[in-house]
């Protein structure tokens, strides 16, 4: 079991500068299980290497970092990659080879594995270097729907989803703005 530094409470404004909170706390077990902070979530790598799976969770958060989202939202997207890798060797190679390249760059630049780099800015720099690759764009594209079309995430953004079954917003606040 791998231990990581505890997350500290910092204000959102500071976070934009600091960004260290976003290093994901997770335990990567030899059995293939990845356990989230305080055992809030767990996923199992079935087709991808467990280290690949775990690092992809961190990469996903770094691409679309939302402090209000728990890590499991990102882990769930990576579960989709794992499942795709189980069905297609090409997909599996894309993720595994992409990760090898990312780790090589990480070691070369910071002498650390990607998940050991504490600063989001530094991790993002590694991603900027590969943002045109199929590997990166595949992950980014999946996150667009994986995160923003995840109904469980909507309330955290204040998006209310379907309204017709509730009769629309005619009597539910379409014109309730009070601060103008």
């Amino acid at each position: 079991m791998e231990k990581r530094e505890n997350q500290k409470k910092v204000s959102r404004r500071n976070l934009i500068k600091a960004g260290s909170k976003t290093l994901i706390v997770m335990s990567v077990l030899p059995t293939g299980m990845i356990i989230g902070k305080e055992k809030a979530w767990a996923v199992k790598a079935k087709s991808l290497k467990i280290d690949t799976f775990a690092t992809l969770i961190q990469v996903s958060r770094d691409i679309y970092p939302h402090d209000k989202l728990e890590d499991n939202f990102y882990a769930k997207v990576v579960e989709g990659f794992d499942s795709a890798a189980g069905k297609s060797k090409a997909d599996k190679d894309l993720f595994e080879n992409g990760l090898v390249g990312l780790e090589q760059a990480s070691m070369g630049k910071y002498n650390k594995k990607y998940r050991d780099i504490g600063w989001e800015t530094q991790r993002v720099q590694l991603l900027r270097d590969i943002e045109k690759t199929t590997f990166f764009q595949g992950i980014r594209g999946s996150l667009i729907t994986g995160i923003y079309n995840n109904q469980e995430a909507w309330p955290l953004f204040g998006y209310e989803g379907e309204s017709a079954p509730m009769g629309g917003y005619l009597n539910r606040g379409f014109d309730d703005i009070s601060w103008l």
Partner: protein, 523 residues
């Protein structure tokens, strides 16, 4: 199921497409007693099939057949296989349109005369004017139930509108209101009033918004003179030895090819499919495609100058609540070249749900700059910018040299380069849109690039002279007198207004003309 009209019935009018142009034309012809067959490539969904679900409905109703793109427009980079965001279903893009129903301004029919020679622009005056269109606009507004016409009150203002209005007032804009919308503000024409559901783009669940799907087509069908055949992909238009069109070859739902004979054929497949069909219908008699003696078929593709401005505020807005586009500032739609460009633009409220905002706020962007904007989703207001773009001959729909669709037909390539005038207008619109929100205390503003095209125009343009365009002032092709074009592809220039009201007005006028010409045995 048996067809209502026989495939060999050569007395019918065949209309290809069932959207604002085709759906209106076919229904109006039926109301006038003309036997009409509408061939629609897409399926027939009804209101219960609509879901308040952005990606779900996108997958269900969008035209997703293979297309390619080229040119310097950003859509070619961000959405290379999706140049246009339009609908493949009975009702066409009147399922997902927002409802904005604006008349052209008088000068917008004569911009070649007004603007003079603009380098790179292939401008032409329309062969008709506002005076000639006014009765048809009136008829269309009544038919569609456009607010602020015919004594119909405006829609109530949403949160998103209220922010726009406050900003407009702050900037000294004089013309800001909740729009002329083909959305019932009170019950009318057997349909209820708007429930402020949002999701106008996903199909209106309350039927308050006009659509050919559930307003026009059922009226046409009730006459017994209209048959709509969904899942019917037209492959080519056939002609006889005299050069008159004689029928239409299409593939039905099972892929079986059939020929529907016709007395008149009207093409209303939107500005990408309509020219594509004419080009794919080439023959030994018409080697460059049907109705293409001018060489203008597919050229002068316009998509409106578009863009959006979103802004975040300290406090909640909840722009997703309520009618999507019921808010407009029209002050910038005037002709005022002192701004550094000809033509004008409208500013109209717009909202996207979180799923689409993730995809469209800044396509391809990632990292904290982007995600921190979406963190403020419910504090966001938004507007769409839509203005006249310059027709350019090189902006065009052409047949792909190698790629074919499932029927073996060449797929369309959509080429578009922004004209310098388009860019100058967009930059001005971004500045003004941001200023509207800044004046209300915006924390951040976002100049959002154009989405895949919803306003596809100009590729079979209207002209008084046969050498300058594809159709005459009635939408009748210059070359083939029983072949008509009935969609936005006939637009000579784009004007600054959303095109649907003009498409519907032209279709009503064309129906009148076709019925009259048929009764005179001219066609």
């Amino acid at each position: 199921m048996d067809n209502k009209f026989d495939l060999n019935d050569d007395g019918v009018v065949v209309v290809i497409g069932s959207g604002a142009g085709g759906g209106t034309l076919g229904s109006e012809l039926a109301l006038k007693g003309v036997k009409t067959v509408i061939l629609e490539a897409g399926s027939r969904h009804e209101i219960p099939d609509f879901k308040n679900d952005e990606w779900g409905m996108f997958g269900k109703i969008s035209w997703l057949d293979k297309r390619t793109t080229s040119g310097d427009w950003r859509v070619a980079r961000d959405f290379s296989g999706l140049p246009a965001w339009i609908v493949k279903a009975v009702g066409g893009s009147t399922i997902h349109w927002a409802g904005a129903s604006l008349r052209f301004q008088e000068h917008e029919f004569n911009v070649k005369t007004l603007y003079g020679d603009i380098p790179g622009a292939n401008l032409l005056d329309w062969p008709l004017d506002l005076k000639e269109m006014e009765p048809w606009y009136s008829k269309a507004e009544d038919r569609m139930g456009v607010t602020r016409t015919n004594g119909i009150p405006g829609l109530p203002g949403s949160n998103n509108f209220k922010i726009m209005k406050k900003g407009a007032d702050n900037l000294g804009y004089k013309h800001c209101h909740t729009g002329r919308m083909a959305i019932n503000s009170k019950p009318r024409d057997g349909r209820g009033s708007c429930l402020q559901i949002g999701f106008c783009f996903q199909g209106c669940k309350s039927a308050a918004k006009w659509s050919t799907l559930y307003v026009e087509i059922p009226k046409g069908e009730a006459t017994g003179n209209l048959e709509v055949r969904p899942n019917s992909q037209v492959i080519r238009i056939e002609h006889d030895n005299y050069g008159k069109v004689s029928g239409v070859l299409y593939a039905d739902k099972s892929g079986n090819k059939k020929i529907q004979k016709a007395r008149v054929v009207c093409v209303a497949g939107n500005s990408i499919e309509s020219p594509r069909l004419l080009l794919n219908s080439s023959s030994s008699k018409f080697p460059d495609g049907l109705a293409n003696s001018s060489g203008q078929v597919g050229k002068n593709y316009m998509r409106h100058m578009t863009g959006s401005v979103y802004a975040t505020f300290d406090k909640p807005v909840n722009m997703h609540r309520g009618t999507t586009m019921a808010g407009i500032i029209t002050d910038e739609s005037k002709y005022d070249p002192s701004r550094g460009f000809v033509g004008g633009y409208e500013m109209e409220t717009l909202s996207l749900g979180l799923p689409f905002m993730g995809a469209f706020l800044d396509p391809g962007a990632w990292g904290r700059e982007f995600s921190s904007a979406l963190d403020m989703y419910n504090h966001m207001a938004g507007m769409w910018l839509v203005g006249e773009d310059m027709p350019q001959e090189s902006n065009r729909i052409s047949l792909h040299p190698t790629e074919k669709d499932q029927y073996g037909l060449a797929i369309p390539n959509v080429h578009f380069d922004d004209h310098p005038n388009d860019i100058a207008m967009r930059n001005h619109a971004y500045r003004q849109g941001s200023a509207v929100y800044d004046s209300v205390g915006a924390v951040r503003t976002f100049p959002t690039p154009p989405y895949p095209s919803t306003h596809n125009l100009g590729t079979n343009r209207m002209s008084s002279k046969a050498r300058d365009g594809v159709v005459n002032k009635w939408g009748q092709t210059h070359d083939i007198k029983n072949l008509f074009i009935s969609d936005g592809s006939v637009f000579t220039t784009g004007a600054s207004e959303n095109p649907t009201l003009t498409i519907v007005s032209l279709a009503l006028r064309q129906a009148d003309r076709i019925a009259s010409e048929m009764s005179k045995k001219n066609i």
